[in-house]
Amino acid sequence: MDGSVSGGKVEKSAIAGHSLLQQVWRRFRRHKLALGGLVVVGLFVLMSVFAPMIAPYNPYRSFTRSDGSYASWERPSAKHWLGTDDVGRDVLSRLIFAGRVSMSVGLVAVLVATAIGVALGATAGFFGGLVDNVIMRLTDTVLCFPVLFLVLIVATMVGPSIYNIMIIIGCVYWTRVCRLVRAEFLRLREMEFTEASRALGASSNRIIWRHLIPNAISPIVVFGTLFIAEAILIEASLSFLGAGVQPPVASWGNMLHQASSFVVLSRRPWLWIPPGLAIMAVVLSVNFIGDGLREALDPHQQL
């Protein structure tokens, strides 16, 4: 990376040049769509982080007309680039702030799902036997429920706050990570390096954390990335139905909820097309990144 090194450091940097991360990055770069996706997601993340500075107005502020009534349903104009909604709030500002909610729900939900899935999958795959059997039957059972419906019901029952939704999606979505990690562990625990470290007297705990999980990390990362896309879609669906993130807090899903009114749907497309496109852009980009990561991390593709 840094060219101006001298003496003993040269060798070190030469090795660093072939570090796993750099190899991955080199292969990832070749995937143009993934690179594009990374740029788009990066922009959306920046937009969310700096939302208060970027958004032209406060997303909760209702604009009023000179007669004191709400400046509702104004068409896109120089003042309001994407118009205003039913109580005169600036749609563009809400769209920018909604990105914070939608994307953080996706991210946290995936972290929760991955944590549960890795824990259960690792336990099942490493210990096998009855433990494995019980965990896998549990996984099969949860997989029988349509995710969306399960999330909908639980969210209705425990109350749809943003944090609840993050946790609920995570608690419902761990199954596929669990299966994946279990399959990896079944494979890895038979490998010679596992046998070797066991022969050296390593504890199960150490083998799992030091040897198995690092070796299983690539598929977990790929799946995790693709899950972010899924989780964003689930949150959007939930909020679209009105059972997710609740107004006045904006999420892309609940902004689209307005389109369930026929008048809004047919005459005020500026209210619902932008959030829909925002979801598509982020989810598409995340899917591209996931695809790029899969190609970059898959050892079979190594040239």
Binding site: L33, R137, L138, D140, T141, V142, L143, C144, F145, P146, V147, L148, F149, L150, L152, I153, V154, T156, M157, V158, A229, L233, A236, S237, F240, L241, G242, A243, L256, A259, S260, F262, L265, S266, P269, W272, G276, I279, M280, V283, L284, N287, F288, D291
Partner: protein, 320 residues
């Protein structure tokens, strides 16, 4: 084969028990118990307690579970809070509409996706493959509800070609062919909205499955023997590539049924999904629980069917 069937059936018993356990556990998340919604200020607490005892709500939780389970097994899913109608009956009368919608979305997805997947595989790294891949990514990334309202906006509102919602024209008294055509017009948009995401998945799957098969030795053998390329592709390769697609059916069934909840709501399609979403806003817990158990069982059966079909069409599967 028979042994395999029996074993597969036996294997689903713990899953069925698991489904009832999870559904029951979710029911416990609901605030209060069924009695708390019926208490009015002038009701005396002794009567409430008596009614609680009568319903078994004062019993330990596991007793309540077994009570509920035995009722469930005898076909009693409880009664809707508002209408007082049996939940099972309410759900069963909604099943045909949902089946029609999901089955046609599936059929649409497979009929379009398989040929496109084959083209994509045959023209790997060509423009066609590139465009189809892009289309597949778009399909996977578009929320079904956004696809749904976009379709309504374009085809029903702007072009005025198709109805926005419902499932047949009321009061027209159409019969015979006209009635069928009428229903098809209503089916078209929800089917497209529900099927597109699935289509994209099946297409990607067909493509990779086809690429796998095309690299097999027997394909090279077939080509070496001088068999016409078309025969190699469609007879030798495609048939084998299609086998794993059957398993995809089982994997995507829950997503398809979950998707129908949203699509049915958008298009006012009178199926289970719309019943479920309405029940959510009306806090009709008995309906939700009934739907939960029933839908999960349907998915379980779908998976079973897909596995059996797979074993049936692929002689390489070992039953032992």
């Amino acid at each position: 084969m028979q042994d395999y069937l029996v074993r597969r059936l036996l294997q689903s018993i713990p899953l069925l028990i698991g489904i009832t356990l999870i559904s029951f556990a979710i029911m416990q998340l609901a605030p209060g118990d069924p009695m708390s919604t019926m208490i009015s200020p002038d009701l005396d607490m002794e009567a409430v307690d008596a009614r609680r005892a009568e319903l078994g709500l004062d019993q330990p939780i596991y007793v309540q579970y077994f009570r509920w389970l035995s009722e469930l097994l005898s076909g009693n899913m409880g009664y809707a809070v508002q209408s007082g109608r049996p939940v099972l009956q309410m759900i069963v009368e909604r099943i045909p509409a949902t089946l029609l919608l999901t089955a046609s979305a599936l059929a649409f997805a497979y009929i379009v996706a398989v040929p496109l997947g084959v083209i994509s595989a045959l023209k790997q790294h060509n423009l066609a493959d590139y465009l189809l891949t892009l289309f597949a990514f778009l399909g996977i990334s578009t929320p079904s509800f956004f696809a749904g309202i976009l379709l309504v906006y374009v085809f029903a509102i702007q072009l005025n070609l198709l109805p926005t919602s419902g499932h047949y024209s009321i009061g027209e008294g159409l019969i015979g062919f006209a009635a069928t055509a009428d229903r098809l017009r209503y089916l078209l948009l929800p089917m497209l909205a529900l099927g597109t995401r699935h289509l994209a998945q099946v297409m990607r799957f067909t493509r990779s499955s086809m690429l796998d098969v095309l690299n097999q030795d027997y394909i090279r053998t077939a080509r070496a023997k001088g068999i016409h390329e078309r025969v190699v592709v469609y007879k030798h390769a495609l048939r084998n590539a299609l086998l794993p697609i059957v398993t995809l059916l089982g994997l995507t069934l829950p997503a398809l049924i979950g998707g129908s909840f949203i699509i049915e709501t958008i298009f006012a399609w009178p199926g289970m999904g719309r019943l479920g979403v309405n029940a959510i806003f009306a806090r009709e817990y008995p309906i939700l629980m009934g739907l939960n158990v029933l839908v999960a069982c349907m998915v379980l059966m779908g998976n079973l069917l897909a596995d059996v079909m797979y074993a049936f069409v692929d002689p390489r599967i070992q039953y032992s």
